[in-house]
Amino acid sequence: MHEHDVIVVGAGGAGLRAAIAAQEEGADVAIVSKLHPVRSHTGAAEGGINAALREADSWEDHAYDTMKGSDYLGDAPAIETLAQDSPEEVIQLEHWGMAFSREEDGRVSQRPFGGLSFPRTTYAGAETGHQLLHTMYEQLVKRGIEVYDEWYVLDLAVSDEDEPEDRTCHGVVGYDIQSGNIEGFRARDGVILATGGLGQVFDHTTNAVANTGDGVAMAYRAGVPIEDMEFIQFHPTSLPSTGVLISEGVRGEGGILYNSEGERFMFEYGYASNDGELASRDVVARAELSEVNEGRGIEDEYVHLDMRHLGEERITDRLENILHLAKDFEGVDALEEPMPVKPGQHYAMGGIETDENGETCIGGLYAAGECACASVHGSNRLGGNALPELIVFGARAGHHAAGRDLGEAEITTGKRDEWESGDVETPVAPGEAGISGADAVADGGAAAEGSDLSPDELVARATERTDRRVDALLENDGRNHSEIRSDVQESMTQHVNVFREEEGLKQALRDIRDAREAYQNVGVADQSRTFNTDLLHTIETRNIIDIAEAITLGALARDEFRGAHWRKEYQERDDENWLKHTMLSWNDGSPELWYKPVLLEGEEKRYEPKIRSY
């Protein structure tokens, strides 16, 4: 059994920052990640990092913009923490040598981004995430922090008290991809989940193949509530054939969207008469699909993003990476012709419920980055707010897990008696497919056991359970997972996309149920212990099913239109009934829905919900 003070799961921006922070605090920290750190999907982030660095700007303005962008579903303490800590974290990156783009006077550049009242998006060309990821990995190497790379975390070692709030996380179970060994990792002070996105739940996504929501699914099954899962951001400018992202920076620099009639539809059809292309992402994504649905799309599928008028010099200076992406993945020379773009799944606003210190309701279990929900983004994330979230909350979780006093959190976690319980009518029962014993073990669904065990015994027990699960998957002579996975992905993209209707959501739940049942008979054909990606992907598919279901349940329950969540039957934001977070608890296999009020009370003021127009 490996043993460290703090174990960080995942090695993207949040994981690396958390590990560095824990080490700054003197902890013996290790990272366990299914990818080598530099392969993490943080590297694909293009646009930039919002931070109020300049005199004319203020953290208060950044917080206000973020709250408005969230459509008043973000929690003020989390949003204000983000806006307050971001400048310091960005300057920290600069001091670590990050290659930011520069102004004439040598200071770091900032640019305008959608939904921002000040150009505060600090950037490095159109490859900000790549620069950030590598800069932080360099610090990891410098500090000699241990990384178990290509180790896939299959389970959390959590005690099994009745109430999740009484449980404690003592470590994780890791699977060494190269050798096939399964080993326990005991964490003396804390486990930080930083597993990133879940885009593989959909079939058209800007996310990496590795973004299968593992952390969210593991925490959910261990009893941590997951929050606001229905809020999925669809980025307005992804390339149609692959889902590769074209940065919002293109519009920030002046890129224009046209429909098939050559009309600048953002203005001409009144989708965003003031801000046009620079309206918030949810607004632009819906506008594009409306154009396509009304017959003004190109090839009935996409619209055009044109940046030719910016001129070669400016494009090469600030958006060079975009030229390569358009060429390599769509065969378009963006200096000569407009780029085809359409909305693609991009980001999950929801995730593992945490407070502003990254703590979940389970003792010793933290989450940070895209897999977590503090909640900073509410129902819609602003461009340029994901990277500061990684570094701000990664650092806080790392410091806190290693023992630094960050003060009492204002956000509460876990289910309380006074919270409202929820109810949603589903066409099929959600949750565990209803089998027990050995099969449930193979399924990854069985609960933890033995609250009277010592932490070491608990990790050992979880390791044995994982061993049995893997053996069962290898022995089963069942169906390959890939078809089950693609059925779920297609159903999600068809029914739980930008536009959502009740019947479609119900159909998605039926499809997910079918997938669950099919998964009972899943088997891994590859019998090798060496680098068995067949096994890995099969386990990921189980996570995809649980998450797809949570997203859809939330979407069906929330009968209003807020931020990224549009419902055909309910076209208004309903502040009277819905200024609350959608919460789901796994409850040992039968999902329970409840609600937690939004916190609009900031340090010095209350954020009154206003009509959100751009």
């Binding site: 999907h41 004439e104 040598g106 200071r107 090798s528």
Partner: protein, 296 residues
């Protein structure tokens, strides 16, 4: 170029080390194996038939090896016929083959957009990133092999440890003795200087350059083009200051450093991010000479 396989471990010893499994489990696994083989034969027959019917397929010849699976211990090439659509990349084709025909086909990949650097392979005789290589640019059959000059773990996966070791040998992190006083104050850098290091910061650690380099193949201690480029990125960054530059050049001048490069440009040719690696190494050589003259 040769593909390197790890030295075969004696079969008996590895079997002895393995956990004892029950006889019943062994029988079940044996049956599963037999069924899998039967399915594989069926697949190949069906696929060959399909390939004849359909014009628009691409023929892949893919390297296979697994140190513990009978039939794969000896490296072989498997044929896959993949239906083609416009814009299809080598990675798309591999994923299709895996998801449709053989789920044990193993390769690294993640972002699909040339930024994670996972899927550099040897495609039709040169190092390429599979996700940004269009099938339509390739002659058939498309031959896909693991990166040469690295030990093969399984199928198209190679052991990257040596590559990472070299990357980490050049103090690959920013160092300076003179940070600004205020906590919220940034260091200044001229646009020209940022431009100078820009290309070098684009490296995605895919290992294509190292695999293409004849010198690295013959000298295991040679830092190699990627690590030297990483060193260039910091040596040329004006924010580090002169002292640090001096220190870095001393590391780079060592026996297995910059002077080993014989400017064959193979690294530059294969770099999927168009980094002028050879030029960077040459520039470091010039800097080293200048530096020595200064202190002579």
């Amino acid at each position: 170029m040769s593909t390197q396989l790890p030295e075969q471990v004696e079969e008996e010893s590895s079997a002895a080390e393995a956990e004892p499994t029950s006889a019943a489990q062994e029988r079940r696994l044996e049956k599963k194996r037999q069924r899998a083989e039967e399915k594989e034969r069926q697949r190949q027959a069906e696929e060959a038939e399909k390939a004849l019917e359909e014009e628009d397929t691409y023929h892949l010849k893919v390297f296979r090896y697994d140190p513990e699976i009978a039939g794969k211990k000896e490296p072989r090439f498997d044929d896959f016929h993949v239906p083609y659509h416009k814009g299809m990349t080598v990675l798309d084709a591999l994923m299709y083959a895996r998801d449709t025909y053989d789920s044990s086909l193993t390769f690294r990949h993640s972002c699909r957009q040339a930024i994670c650097g996972s899927d550099a392979m040897f495609v039709n005789g040169s190092q390429r990133l599979c996700c940004k290589t269009q099938l339509s640019d390739l002659e058939e059959p498309v031959r896909i092999e693991p990166l040469p000059h690295a030990e093969v773990v399984k199928d198209l996966v190679v052991d990257m440890e040596h590559f990472y070791d070299q990357m980490e040998a050049v103090e690959p992190y920013f160092q300076t003795n003179e940070l600004p006083e205020g906590e919220l104050e940034e260091q200044h850098q001229t646009r020209e200087n940022r431009e100078k290091v820009k290309m070098s910061t684009r490296c995605i650690w895919c290992g294509a350059c190292m695999s293409s380099c004849n010198i690295a193949a013959g000298d295991n201690q040679y830092l190699g083009p990627a690590a030297l480029n990483k060193a260039y990125r910091f040596t040329m960054d004006e924010r580090e200051g002169e002292d640090m530059k001096q220190q870095r050049l001393e590391i780079l001048e060592q026996e297995h450093g910059v002077w080993r490069c014989q400017t064959q440009f193979s690294c530059t040719e294969v770099c999927p991010k168009d980094i002028p690696l050879t030029e960077h190494i040459q520039e470091l050589k010039r800097e080293a000479v200048k530096n020595n003259l200064k202190f002579w």
